[in-house]
Symmetry: C2
Subunit: 345 residues, 2 copies
């Protein structure tokens, strides 16, 4: 059935050892012999069995990736960055999710111990950080894509500049003459939420802070409550684009004009941000690059490089109509994110 290294050896009139050397370009092989072996490999369509190679070599040339959910709006970008990098290095990517609770965890841990992969990329372990630490302690190389800013120092991680991102939003609003901002945060326990809020307030102090949960509803309610209370405000900084969309909806329903009455800035720059009404000014997370960087770090580690520390990737303020460059400055081209991007180093 399957063509094996033995078939190639036989057809080429050499030993399996020599075939192996040709395949892996390891050790000296006579030029003519090598050419002959290669010809046979091509004609037979021989491809080494990854399972056998892995068993013999003790590694699988595969990395695992563990994510809480695949349907979050920015997860696709992270994944794409990871897959591209991993594929380019000739590795495979084994994907796992943690969405069925204890059962998933159990199954996953088993797969790990089975050495189905050589290293692991993790997004947001949340309640499973201890499990991951245990795996890491057992010798599994791990790199964390830390979008929650949990700052564990057990393993290298890739994070973004949440503090500076918050500050950039504040500077933008300040430059636009806004002085009474409402901040709609995510869950308080997240490090990224504290960082974004801290960075924002350092530039533009405010006591109008509504604790949200990253949902559209929480953004809508925050604005509705503030409007109902009659508290004056001239801008909104939401900790993610989804809750910013909720804020936009509440403002529209209340007849407030964005950005004339109220400017709105989000966080993430998910695809939807280009399609809200008006298109959303937002602090872009470099999600794809975070994926690429984490994969590169892990591959480097597998290749023997010494484990790196935390790598910080910069956010980028993307200016669209919900908070243009100057107050009432008219329409801004919002369909091209990079064209209208404003970089803060």
């Amino acid at each position: 059935m399957r063509v094996t290294i033995a078939d190639v050896a036989r057809a080429a009139g050499v030993s399996k050892t020599t075939v192996s050397r040709v395949i892996n370009t390891k050790g000296e092989v006579d030029g003519g012999t090598a050419a002959r072996v290669r010809a046979v490999i091509a004609s037979l369509g021989y491809v080494p069995s990854s399972g056998a190679v892995g068993l013999a070599r003790g590694s699988s040339r595969t990395v695992g990736m563990l994510v809480p959910s695949l349907t979050w709006p920015w997860m696709g970008e992270v994944l794409q960055g990871v897959v591209d990098t991993v594929e380019a290095a000739g590795y495979g990517l084994l994907l796992f999710t943690f969405n069925r609770g204890a059962d998933s965890v159990e199954r996953f841990t088993t797969q790990v111990s089975a050495r189905a992969f050589d290293g692991l990329l993790v997004v947001e372990p949340e309640n499973t950080l201890d499990k991951i630490i245990a795996l890491s302690d057992r010798g599994l190389p791990v790199v964390l894509i830390d979008d929650r800013g949990s700052h564990p120092d057990e393993f290298p991680s890739v994070v973004t500049t949440n503090h500076e991102g918050g500050a950039s939003a504040a500077r933008h609003l300040l430059a636009d003459g806004r002085s009474r901002p409402l901040v709609i945060t995510g869950p308080e326990q997240f490090g990224c939420v504290r960082d974004r809020l801290g960075g924002f307030r350092e530039v533009l102090p405010t006591d109008l802070v509504a604790v949200g949960d990253f949902t559209e509803l929480s953004g809508r309610l925050a604005v509705e409550q503030l409007l109902a209370a009659g508290t004056p405000f001239d801008s909104v900084f939401a900790h993610n684009d989804i809750s910013a969309a909720g804020a936009l909806r509440a403002l529209r329903a209340a007849g407030r004009s964005v950005p004339d009455d109220i400017a709105v800035v989000g966080f993430d720059d998910i695809p939807m941000a280009q399609h809200t009404e008006p298109p959303l000014t937002t602090v872009r997370q470099p999600t794809r690059r975070m994926g690429e960087t984490a994969a590169l770090m892990l591959l480097g580690h597998l290749g023997g490089a010494t484990a790196q520390e935390t790598v910080v990737l910069p956010t980028e303020l993307v200016v669209r109509q919900s908070a243009p460059l100057a107050a009432n400055s008219g329409p801004v081209n919002g369909s091209s994110a990079s064209a209208s991007a404003h970089r803060f180093p």
Copy 2:
């Protein structure tokens, strides 16, 4: 280092064969012996090496999945459906993309031949259908998630009711008293586009057809051109939600009210559809279930079931404000897709 089956056998005072039998609950084993072996396995933390098991058994308990891109708005749902199903069956999922052209294809084909996985799930092979067919011919079980309606009969596939989906959009508009619809299609070569258009026109004939390419821009331009030409129309059926969003934007810019002047219906029900202004009535593709179903079909096939034919999953019209149930019937709750869902079998 690693705990092997030999270590377990030694510690339990039995042969590797017996340990293997206990692990796989295969063949008769004395109850006491089995209990002892299990205790040793637990205390040593033994987990079989997946590579070795795969080599010995000739299968990897892993399925591959090949997608053109991970950042498309509905890909996350498909992936989630696949991963959930595959994980529940104790299989691993190896993910591949085709985004670096010939290079990716080459690398991928190699991985396949390396038997890194037992079966393959494919989304939209597009220009690589011949490659996939070749793999299938070589004995690799393949299931296609066919969102483009290319209808190849080389392997089993999961599709959705594009024709009926188009018809349901037309019935909805017709019931709302609309008679002059503009259809904004996707690329003409796609089977799904022909099906959606055909289904729509059977119910609501129209000659206002703009060939788009699934981008926001194409939706915007189609509407702008029709408005500029002064051609009257009272509704829009766009072949995906992105181009529907473009249509919404163009209508808003032109001062046309949606849905009072023009009703708009999209296709897909991507997350963004809930956040457009107004929220979008759309024909929902059961993307997650398509992923689950395809995975189930593949696993069944691997388990020895005879290969199934094409499985067709129904679309579902989700009614939101851009085209409510009756003309000018006022606000519809658009935040809960399923609550406001209208099923067509």
